[in-house]
Amino acid sequence: MKVLTLKKWLITILLLVIILIVTIIFCSFQGSADIKLKDLLEIFSNSPGETWWNAKAVILLKVRLPRILLACMVGGALAVSGVVLQALLRNPLADPYILGVSSGSALGAIIAILLGLNITIGSLPSIPLFAFAGGLLTILFVYHISKIHRKISIQTMLLVGVVTGAILAAIIMFITSIAGPHKVQGIIFWLMGSLSSEEYPMVAIVSFYVIVGILILLYHARSFNLLVLGEESATQLGLDVERAKKIAFIGASLITGAAVSVSGLIGFVGILIPHVMRMIIGSDHRLLLPAAGLCGSIYLIIADTLARTLMAPTEIPVGVITAICGGPFFIYLLRKKRTIFY
């Protein structure tokens, strides 16, 4: 009998962590400014002050690295959120955006863009703050509407989430249609999703939310195996189902909200990566959840690097890359494995 053991878990996770680190290093040296690996040695061995040092170090450490770290967090968050929501809703079509969190965040961001707000709290810019608040409000709304007799109804939650998302999307369309041309550009740019121009404080805050959220979800990973069986069977196997559902919903929504508020709507990662990883390593959430997170990070870092280098200096929206590269690969996998999958 092949089962998940600690050894298999450690080897898989270690392997993915190594690939992630290699990807981060490799992608740091891709870009229009020509920086080589040997420059890195000189950057660290030479003292700061010389102008060439400054230029290369600034590009590497202040432009590329924060962007790559952000892609790492956003990709991981979207993939983990996809895995958890698919288990919670028992639906292979679920993705991080299905319960309306993304539309709430988008509306928040758009209001900030429209009002041209420049409030900062601490050193945080207003757009991500508004986006996060919008996402949070949507989560609370969907959660409370779905609660019937102090229990969450999964079917109701799915419907409420989808309908709330649709209402918010309509409001976004309305706002876009009446906004001035200059602001429309900003709105569309945000909606397309981008990982550019974030500074370290923002990256740090997003990392905090995403890492804490993922660790909490990981701790409950075995519960998600049981949730897949349905609420009745999960209860009969000793699971506190209401608690597990709450953790899954709130955890997945929070990390999605944190990711969306800094990156906009980057599609495909949250639905593609969970399925691909299930085909490769199986459905046990104890391994699937962290493996999908790491794989989502790797995938989004590579996609974002392609987005900023392929047609440099023009940047392709990263969502275009994630869909165009990922979609065909996914269909190929489905065809190849279709006898045993779904």
Binding site: M1, K2, V3, L4, T5, L6, W9, Q86, A87, R90, N91, P92, L218, Y219, H220, A221, R222, S223, N225, L226, V228, L229, G230, E232, S233, T235, Q236, L237, G238, L239, D240, R278, G282, S283, D284, R286, I340, F341, Y342
Partner: protein, 275 residues
């Protein structure tokens, strides 16, 4: 020797909305018996299993499990005593048979962490008993109906339960598999001393395999007793509103039911009258 009843159900009433689905049930389940629950559709058979496994909490009445009020136990403690085999399980994602059976160890495990050698051993034994070990690495939805039902029984066995509740375990199976599942149930009862409560839709299988039967009608107990006491022409024709013939099964000695078509019995009556 007086046995403490395994389950004691007293004045149980349950409703989903306005109508009482279970309307004042009192009965006991003895340790080590096979109890069959029979009755027409909508008489509350499955609801009883849900209440016994505390998926549903009754509005009135009490359920005692081994002398303890069911409400005083945690869901985990209940799952360490009661294993449930649902009628049909839908798997939206590809789990292997081994993974599904190991989920039966959940009530004994903490949140994160991996199954121990002992857990694997218990799961292997459950698979050996149910004859599912040979396909432990296959995906659960690649299996035939009978194989899948056996795998789900193995999952319930991996819980190391003292009682197993089965909800129409042979509902979608052909006759070969039906006998296989019921023989397995009998074996678990004889060899492991497992108490079994089976919601059965096949009256003949229930009659052959169960020690006692509980005949439900409209959320109330119409009759409870040995198959010979419960499976009678009078009881069945009244509850199921149809003509039946009950005779003795020449092999098992248990009552055997034959359904009589209303059309055919009319025509026999008519031809009898003519002759």
């Amino acid at each position: 020797m007086t046995l403490t009843p395994f389950f004691r159900v007293k004045d149980l009433r349950f409703r989903y909305d306005e109508n009482w689905v279970l309307d004042g049930l009192s009965f006991e389940v003895r340790e080590g018996e096979i109890l069959g629950i029979i009755g027409p559709n909508g008489s509350g058979k499955t609801t009883i299993l849900r209440v016994l496994s505390r998926v549903l909490i009754p509005q009135e009445g009490e359920v005692h499990l081994q002398g303890k009020n069911l409400l005083a136990l945690s869901q985990k403690e209940i799952a360490q005593i009661i294993g449930v085999v649902p009628q049909d399980t839908y798997f939206p994602f590809p789990f292997t048979v081994g993974e599904v059976v190991l989920m039966g160890r959940s009530p004994w495990l903490s949140n994160f962490g991996f199954e121990s050698e002992k857990d694997l051993q218990i799961a292997s034994q459950a698979m050996a008993l149910t004859n599912t070990f040979s396909f432990s690495n296959r995906l659960i939805f690649e299996l035939s109906g009978g194989e899948r039902q056996r795998a789900i029984i193995a999952r319930a066995l991996a819980q190391k339960p003292q009682v197993m509740l089965l909800d129409e375990p042979t509902a979608h199976l052909d006759i070969g598999y039906q006998i296989e599942i019921y023989d397995l149930i009998k074996k678990l009862n004889a060899e492991k001393g497992l108490t079994l409560i089976i919601v059965a839709h096949d009256l003949n299988l229930a009659s052959d395999y169960c020690d006692r039967l509980l005949l439900l009608d409209g959320g109330r107990i119409y009759k409870m007793g040995s198959p010979k006491e419960v499976i009678t022409e009078e009881n069945l024709s009244r509850i199921y509103q149809s003509k039946v013939l009950v005779e003795e099964n020449p092999v098992t000695g248990a009552p055997r039911v034959t359904l009589l078509s209303k059309l055919m019995s009319q025509s026999t009556e008519r031809s009898n009258r003519v002759s």
